[in-house]
Symmetry: C2
Subunit: 383 residues, 2 copies
């Protein structure tokens, strides 16, 4: 597995790259649809492939609790289990432990939590996080980290960063297989801590022969802070990361966040936004967002997004999509997810082409102009 | 639109036919997947076509209440609205008025009811039932009838049948378009009434020049009575129906009901069973039914049904399907529906081939032998 930096944009920090895994390679910048419990919600894997998804994300916390990583391993790993032949990145489970479990208690050795499914007690250690991800057969594993809430005080952010660094090394040392492992830069909203964390992870990366990180993630962003602050931290942190390794901004985000952060040198993104919002009727278009349940679409025979080539836009009217969404039909989730994922994956494809042509700044500018000029209905919201 | 009787089985009453509509033709015996509110639940229309569905059913009651037949008409009719290019049969709405509405009151002119969605009051008359179905652009419309509960007394069944006959004539006389119209034989579980109703509908069929029924349905069966009684009534009624028109047994049924009733001379079937049961994990196989949520499938790497050629069986294990169903994932509804519809549509295809070969009795016998010999897991249920 390896990352190849193919091109750097002349006017921004945007980068074009390629990451090779045992399950094929993907181009960066990339958006990874989220497949929480072994399925990207409402999507057949062949549909997902047809939409141009090259890598998807799986959630360690969910899969560990149900059906269990050992069961998945016995059945040939997550790729075989869910019939997804391409690369899979798995998170460490830490974020969900903090956000979903009934109770959780941070200890030096790991984090104790109770399952949100049945209340059963578990201890997630850095070593277990790696063991689970290796059992799943993840192509890219993430270290266990503590994801700080926003806002957090400096002293809290400092000690959390120290713990994250200790856990990162334990993850690094417990690796046994060929799976890639990414570390995570933490440090809250404190630029000094972010810089220190990045530098110490880089040092750790070279410390143990044969044990290195294949990529660097930025964690603890997009957790409630103003997005301009997240942009600032991301942009000020990437200069401390090795140029020849990919940078992954975890859990981000909205299209405008992605377009902005590509320009700050980020290579990888994931977010539940396109799939989750689709199920609630919020649709992304190049002119901005609409909620398809709005009454202004009741008799609208036009497609969701004029000019869009996705199956949904090619075959169905806004009026029909509104009807399906209001009727809570499963087909609503399917068709809306197809469109939103097409939008995100297509946006990333356009971004990659722009970088390849050395035109990313122009692409960014036009993207925001189009969003801001959008007039596609009474409830249209520009970003 | 017309029905062509292509072949009669030598040893049973089974018939092979072809029905031509403005949206293409379909072969009988046929199973019609149910698309209640303008979608066969969890299915893309191209998926449905790929499964071999030739005609689907739409529910007048649901579409009348939401989004409304006039809106659908304005948007080009139900075929365009839901992007289903093939034939559509619509029911009259009567059955759902009796089973779903909050309150309903039978009157000579129609049936008063309150919407299950918002409590609004409506009066469904025979004329309105036809108006709605014509607005939807239905290929095959059904007359408004009263669907008796089981059991009902003779006097109640008699007066209900008289009302159904009066309404059938009003439907016949209110037709304005080229859409086909099927009448419905009622009469409860009383063979004398069934015969009388059939004969009087046949008489009505020839009474008004240029106003005829294109098919005959059997209604009020499979509403709680023992299925052998339903078989008996169906088998004793078909001899009174015109041979050159199709016979439709409404709301039936389970695979064994369909295989039995084809042998009694029935040509058309519809039922929510394959789609609804799929969403609850009950799967049809040639060896019988299983519930995929059973713990015996937790580590089962085999396909749902050995030898099945559907997308689900070709690509996923029982263990994965169990996991999806327990996790209430949308993909569970999708994959399970694909398999169950494939099972039903494939079964009907086999039945048609058997009739074409004059072998329907043998087909029936082998079908029941295989079901009864089935051993596919601890919770396997033979039919």
């Amino acid at each position: 597995m390896s990352f190849q930096l193919l091109k750097k944009d002349p006017y921004t920090q945007a980068r074009l790259g390629r990451y090779a895994t045992a399950h094929g390679s993907f181009e960066t910048p990339v958006f990874m649809p989220v497949g929480t419990v072994g399925t990207v919600k409402a999507m057949r894997p062949d549909e997902l492939k047809g939409l141009g998804a090259e890598i998807i994300l799986g959630n360690t916390y969910h899969l560990y609790l149900r059906p269990g990583h050992l069961l998945i391993k016995e059945l040939g790993g997550l790729h075989a289990f869910m019939n997804w032949p391409g690369p899979i990145l798995t998170d460490s489970g830490g974020y969900q432990v903090f956000s979903l479990s009934q109770t959780c208690r941070l200890r030096e050795d790991g984090v104790e939590f109770q399952s949100h499914l049945d209340g059963s007690k578990h201890l997630l250690t850095p070593e277990l996080a790696i063991e689970i991800q290796e059992a799943l057969g993840s192509d890219i594993m993430m270290v266990l980290d503590e994801c700080l809430p926003y806002p957090s005080e400096l002293s809290r952010a400092q000690s959390s960063m120290e713990l994250t660094l200790r856990w990162a090394e334990r993850c690094l040392l417990s690796r046994t297989g060929e799976n890639s492992l990414f570390c995570i830069v933490q440090g809250g909203t404190f630029q000094g801590l972010r810089k220190e964390c990045a530098e110490r992870l880089v040092a750790l990366d070279g410390k143990n022969p044969g044990k290195s990180f294949e990529g660097f993630a930025l964690g603890g962003l997009s957790v409630g802070e103003p997005m301009p602050l997240a942009y600032e931290i991301a942009g000020n942190t990437t200069p401390y990361l090795p140029e020849q390794k990919p940078r992954y901004l975890m859990g981000v985000g909205m299209p405008e966040d992605i377009v902005t952060c590509i320009g700050l040198g980020i290579d990888m993104f994931d977010c539940v936004v396109p799939t989750r919002m689709a199920r609630h009727g919020t649709m992304f278009t190049k002119f901005g967002r609409i909620n398809i349940r709005g009454s202004e679409f009741a008799k609208d025979s036009g497609p969701l997004e004029e000019g869009c080539s996705c199956y949904t836009c090619q075959n169905f009217s806004r009026a029909y999509l509104r009807h399906l969404s209001l009727s809570k039909e499963i087909l609503s989730a399917i068709l809306n997810t197809i469109h939103n994922l097409h939008y995100f994956l297509n946006l990333l494809g356009q971004a990659r082409r722009a970088i390849a042509e050395g035109n990313y700044a122009k692409f960014q500018k036009e993207f925001f102009q189009q969003i801001q000029s959008g007039e596609i209905g009474a409830n249209q919201k520009s970003f």
